[in-house]
Symmetry: none
Subunit: 432 residues, 2 copies
């Protein structure tokens, strides 16, 4: 079964538009991944016999092992998956009396007469195995055509789920024999994709690109290693690769499980250190506090935040000297430092974190363009760390990246006394 | 252009799995629908030159008019869309010096040297039109191959959005000729889908279900009417339907354009009223402030927030009497009212809004189960409005719904003096 390749086809005109997403194929992809089957292509076609036939013909021509179609097995005239597949494979369709009786009995059980249209659901391709559907009227079908095995499944999610469990997974498992895949994940914060690529160059030289996927989102890169084969083989394949990536990316890696978030890691560190945190936010408008409190139990270490969106609140609530604001401007290293100190002292926390910047689209100037952000962290003994950052993108992205950089700086030096108050002039951030 | 048919191909191995959904093709499908172009097939293929070439060859063979590929234009070795398309059409790829210079300049602007890998993004197919990408380094490409027109777009959603607006829609509109579809949207806040369905029952009786789509998300329902035909015909079809829906849903409708957000509507109302707003948040942890400040220019009316996540900050910073907290608990009508008053007075705003509740998963009790939220709004003359809410769902959903209800209450009665301080016992919220 190693190297078995599958294609998925979701049938339904409504899936071609913008409103509905094809969750059935995702469900099927998960089931296949669990059995070590690679998905080579996913397609969505309308309720169109020729389009369905085209997908089948292509799978045959390409030498795909497994083609799974979901949808188009209903009773109405636009349910034409049976017909499309039969056309492509030049198979006859025959009405099976025992299936018809089953469907009729199902209606009778509800005190209803079977509508004439439901007859179509009893049509089975010559040579196909009928796959009973205990959750609905449309049975599935499985048939072989040379190298290719086809599955026809209903699209109702609940019915599909039943078909996967009862008919697909057991069939694959019989042919599989512990060939499942395994995925290892490393999550990296605050490095642009091209910088990650540059750093892991030596990995590519040693191991090539096979099995490694790089997924970038704003301020975060996910590296995924996928191993196939026996459990032992997978371990032997994964271990040196993971070790090498860890070496190359070092402390930039913040998690090795996909479900772990940066704010969750920061929370764990704070809890373990027994330290409390408070924030003072301007440009992010509360986003940093909101992210910190996404984590259940954040009240163990997070005290609160002053979102001082107006200058007056910076003065009245945080006690920033009006003179300092007037001289340096709200977006400045000095005000960021004063805000961090105030958050720490005023809110009685071990760590105070402040963000002030220009999120745009308005408010930028030559000296302080949109994307300029000052991040400051006040720690014990009034130790102050400062970063002058510049983020690309729109308002939403700039705010997100600012919160991301703040979390990552807390992570990489929580409670560590910083010698110099503010490392240097400006740390430029390219693609986020 | 009537009858123009398109196929969409999303490129990216990560999209073949179960974790990522292909939202780019959905966005493209929406843009095409708006221009009256039918989508005949959607496909997802991995980062695989032959698979990409196969999609192009198939589109040519089937006589498709338009093929749009998204993804695989990045700088890394697995970005092979350019190569796959060039292979299928037997076109050469050449590095264009002016594009290379553009990309290099973009890096220089950030104080960085262009990594060597980014050279690949300057490779353009022979005969292709370069489509500038103002939001990223990878330019798009458009080229004709017989009847077929191909678009190559980047996959970063923000960049793709720019390409659609600047390069796809204008190109389609030029070829359109008034056959477009037209969509009218009504957005409804804080009513569950079943309640909306019940309210618009009379609409279904009068007009049927044709052309109306109901899209539900947390705390928000979007009603979409889609009209086809001539501009005149569309107007005649839309006008009575829109009027009827407006009658049936009344003030529950907060917007009639898809891009308008609830926080944007609240901002407009505050700006027009010349009123300022401050918040005090507990369970939402800053989400309400964060949403209010997503709107550019929010500083015109939003002063700031105190995120008093710990009880001590409620006492120290907001001045809530310790005795009240001890007697009623932090999640109570009385504390919510006191927080709203404090936000208003302390932060010097016309309106003070407070949220306190149990977001879960822990912290619930029989008397105050997870999902319990108290919302209070303090207005001029110490007028106080209070709502006792109960939301279903997980932590994220409860927090979101709390912020949604707060925004909607501000919208429906901004600055209006509320006679009764707190309408009644409990307002149960079914499906959100």
């Amino acid at each position: 079964m190693t190297g078995m390749e599958a294609a998925l086809v979701a049938v339904g005109s409504e899936l071609l538009g913008a409103d509905r997403s094809d969750t059935n194929s995702s469900r099927l992809a998960a089931a296949l991944a669990g059995q070590g089957v690679a998905v080579r292509r996913r397609a969505i076609v309308g309720d169109d016999e020729a389009a369905i036939a085209g997908e089948v013909a292509r799978a045959v021509a390409e030498g795909i092992d497994l083609l799974i179609l979901s949808g188009g097995l209903g009773p109405t005239a636009d349910d034409v998956t049976r017909e499309g597949v039969a056309m492509a494979l030049a198979r006859g369709l025959e009405e099976r009396p025992e299936i018809l009786a089953d469907i009729a009995a199902r209606f009778e059980g509800l005190g209803l007469r079977m509508p004439e249209v439901n007859r179509r659901q009893a049509r089975i391709m010559a040579g196909a195995e009928v796959l009973p559907n205990r959750r609905g009227t449309a049975p599935g079908q499985r048939l072989a055509a040379g190298k290719l095995t086809l599955f026809l499944f209903p699209a109702v999610p609940d019915e599909l789920e039943g078909m996967i469990e009862e008919h697909l997974v057991p069939w694959l498992a019989e042919r599989g024999g512990g060939e499942a895949r395994e995925m290892a994940v490393l999550k990296v914060a605050c490095l642009p994709e091209s910088a990650v690529e540059e750093r892991i160059g030596p990995f590519y030289e040693a191991f090539g690109r096979e099995g490694l996927t790089v997924l970038a989102s704003a301020g975060e890169i996910q590296l995924r290693l996928t191993a196939a084969g026996s459990p032992d083989g997978r371990r032997r394949w994964l271990a040196p690769r993971l070790a090498r990536l860890r070496e190359l990316l070092g402390e930039r890696i913040f998690a090795d499980r996909p479900e772990v978030s940066l704010e969750g890691v920061v929370g764990d560190l704070l809890r373990r250190a027994g330290a409390s945190l408070a924030t003072a936010e301007s440009c992010t408008g509360g986003l940093l506090a909101e992210r910190l409190t996404r984590v259940p139990g954040a009240s163990d270490y997070f005290l609160g935040s002053v979102v001082s969106y107006s200058d007056r609140l910076k003065i009245d609530l945080l006690g920033i000297p009006a003179e300092l604001l007037a001289r340096e401007g709200a977006v400045s290293a000095e005000v960021a430092r004063a805000m961090a100190s105030a958050a720490r002292r005023l809110l009685g926390a071990d760590l105070g974190v402040a963000l002030t910047g220009v999120a745009g689209p308005g408010g930028g100037s030559a000296a302080k363009p949109v994307g300029t952000v000052h991040l400051a962290i006040a720690g014990p003994g009034e130790a102050l760390e400062h970063r002058h950052l510049r983020f690309p993108g729109d308002r939403e992205r700039i705010r997100w990246l600012a919160s991301q950089w703040a979390l990552d700086r807390i992570r990489r030096g929580p409670l560590a006394r910083r010698a110099a108050a503010g490392a240097a002039g400006g740390e430029e951030v390219p693609a986020g």
